[in-house]
């Protein structure tokens, strides 16, 4: 699913279709852990600990992982709601932050939809006012902003005359999430971060909202970062998938590769944890046991080794880099890295020649 020809090029378009829309390099967020009554730091929570990835123009990048793996922190870092401890974010070739793209310009191009549809709308504002807020902040006159808000309400399938003046509590969960989507689109962004946008909705509404998101993507030429813990939804929505574990990227690649040929044991375990529809293929033991380790003190070497069935002594020593597997597929596992010392690692070319 590349960019479709339906939408005209965005006015902020710079680098052409080949340049990634968003590049993330070495993104780190450590939260100081405060303890004692004087508030001295007792350590840091390594919520996001060195993450690199790119989002191509017009694609949907799915982001999956257990709770606490750093999905939400990543989304808030990208939205600049949190200041990163280290690392850089590049939007269409432009650096972001000091000396680069300013906060307001960045916000105009990157917007976000939150999981909790009720908490993300001001209860004291009619929904059309909530949608019109961002354009007003960016200098659109009130009347024009309101007209734009009504247009967007229609675009997300809500009759403006019927819903515009209502307060959030008078709408259903699905309607509220449509309003939130309209609100995120009000600045005509290029990248929309969808942080679990359908997790709080029931199944029938979920499907409608997902279809709406697909339609809007074509219509407005959007790029999505789609965060979810629901693997089926990600498989349906995403072009590429990134799997995170304990603040790091475990595996990244095209959706067919991730779901068809998972190279990281964590991805394989996640996929195996999906309930099957076939009662004969019911599994009797949990694919993954226990909770992820404490991100204050992550395991040495490979962070997944404490729960991995294939862990070997080398895993505690070497931190696995993202090993390319071709086709943009890469996994941070020593079993995917030639010559890593793991017994299941592929043979290096020299070793193959020697044999």
């Amino acid at each position: 699913m590349g960019p479709t020809g339906a939408a005209p090029p965005h006015p902020d378009e710079i680098g052409g279709p080949a340049q990634p829309l968003l590049g993330v390099r070495g993104l780190v967020k450590h939260f100081p852990l405060r303890g004692g009554w004087l508030g001295g730091a007792r350590g840091v929570v390594r919520a996001v600990d060195g993450v690199d990835f790119t989002i191509r123009k017009g694609e949907t990048l799915g982001l999956v992982g257990e709770s606490g793996c750093g999905k939400s922190t990543t989304s808030r870092l990208l939205m600049r709601l949190l200041e990163p401890t280290a690392g850089e974010v590049i939007l269409d070739g432009q650096g972001v932050g000091a000396g680069g793209l300013g906060r307001r310009d960045y916000c105009r191009q990157v917007q976000m939809v939150f999981q909790d549809s009720y908490a993300s709308l001001n209860p004291r504002l009619p929904v059309e006012e909530s949608i019109a807020f961002a354009p007003r902040v960016h200098g659109t006159p009130a009347r024009e902003a309101l007209a734009k808000a009504r247009e967007l309400l229609a675009a997300v399938g809500l009759e403006p005359a019927q819903f515009g003046w209502r307060y959030p509590h008078a709408l259903s969960g699905g309607q509220r999430q449509r309003v939130n989507i309209a609100r995120a689109l009000a600045l005509r962004p290029r990248l929309v971060i969808l942080d679990e946008p359908v997790s709080a909705l029931d199944k029938s509404v979920e499907a409608q909202v997902l279809n709406l998101l697909c339609d809007l993507k074509d219509r407005f030429g959007l790029t999505y970062l789609f965060i979810s813990h629901d693997l089926n939804v990600v498989q349906y929505m995403a072009d590429r998938v990134m799997v995170m574990y304990l603040g790091r990227v475990a595996e990244i690649g095209p959706v067919e590769a991730i779901f068809g040929r998972p190279a990281h044991p964590y991805t394989a375990a996640l996929l195996a944890s999906r309930p099957t529809m076939d009662p004969d293929r019911r599994r009797t033991e949990a694919p993954l046991s226990g909770d992820p380790p404490n991100p204050v003190d992550p395991p040495s070497g490979c962070r997944f080794r404490t729960r991995c069935a294939h862990a070997e002594p080398v895993c505690a020593v070497t931190e696995p880099p993202l090993a390319p597997l071709g086709d943009g597929h890469a996994a941070a596992c020593l079993m995917a890295l030639p010559g890593s010392g793991h017994s299941r690692a592929p043979a290096t070319t020299e070793a193959a020649h020697a044999a």
Partner: protein
């Protein structure tokens, strides 16, 4: 808060915000308790404002010959006090000062405490620490004791009574405002407003203040009755209002000697304080219910 440096964009107040208050009024109108309380308070307010017109005598004119006459004594509907002054007149004039002492400290504390609480809640970090820990120092004392101590240290007089009551209420209002603001600040709609690139002042004005003001206002309304009782208490103790000024708390004090001879008369100022503070309390309860948007 680096955000504070950003220029606040001009966002006109939401025109549709009025319909929220229309809803509040509608719900308040359906609540009989609130309606009765509001009616009693309005009646009382009208009576004390019109005291010079409707009072049958002057507030200071008395006669030793007509001391402590019972309720219904000819010419004195509510009898006379220990100096032969007409009780109805004294109560009407006394209400002016009692109401003034009840409302002024709360209004002042609402302004100062609300602002400090909002800043503490929205800014967080060391600003919050500074404001809240200072608040805790005041909070450590029971409010009656604090009011008496400050008033006693400052000396007698109405101005000092108001000042001491304001100082008693500021920490309480800071506490409530800070906790409401902290709760609102962490909600996603404030985050999404930040994500739209808005400056801190705009976010506070459009998204934080309207959601904080309601609960704090209701809390402040409930403090009016406390303020009235504390002010009466200060007058009773001889701090605050001085005789022969009519004030309900002070009247209660001077009439206490007559409690065995004319118990009904001695109770009248207390009854006024009781009814007024009860009405303010019930009205603030009704207001809280009416302002709840599910």
């Amino acid at each position: 808060m680096s955000d504070l440096a950003l220029p606040a964009a001009a966002v006109p107040a939401a025109p549709a915000g009025a319909s929220y208050w229309a809803g509040v009024r509608k719900r308040l109108m359906r609540d009989p308790v609130s309606l009765v309380c509001a009616a009693v308070l309005l009646l009382m307010l009208a009576a004390i404002l019109l005291a010079p017109v409707i009072a049958p005598y002057g507030p200071y004119t008395g006669s030793v010959l007509r001391r402590l006459k019972p309720i219904g004594f000819p010419g004195y509907v509510l009898g006379t006090d220990e100096q032969g002054r007409d009780m109805l007149t004294r109560l009407l004039f006394g209400g002016r000062l009692s109401w003034f002492l009840g409302i002024t400290p709360v209004v002042l504390a609402f302004g100062v405490g609300g602002l400090l609480g909002l800043v503490a809640g929205f800014a967080g970090g060391w600003v919050n620490m500074l404001i809240m820990r200072t608040t805790d120092v005041f909070y450590a004392f029971p409010s009656v004791l604090l009011a008496v101590a400050i008033s006693g240290a400052l000396g007698t007089g109405i101005g000092n009574a108001i000042l001491s009551l304001t100082l008693v209420f500021i920490p309480q209002i800071i506490r409530v405002t800070e906790s409401v603001t902290t709760g609102v600040r962490n909600l996603d709609y404030v985050e999404s407003a930040r994500a739209s690139g808005a400056g801190a002042m705009t976010i506070v004005r459009v998204h934080v203040l309207p959601n904080v003001l309601g609960p704090v206002f209701v809390y402040a309304t409930s403090l009016i009755s406390v303020s009235m009782i504390l002010a009466s208490g200060l007058s009773f103790l001889g701090l605050g209002t001085q005789p022969p000024e009519p004030e309900w708390g002070l009247m209660l004090n001077t009439l206490r000697a007559a409690i065995y001879t004319q118990p009904l008369i001695a109770m009248l100022p207390g009854l006024c304080i009781f009814v007024t503070s009860l009405c303010f309390n019930l009205l603030s309860d009704g207001l809280r219910a009416a302002m709840d948007v599910r």
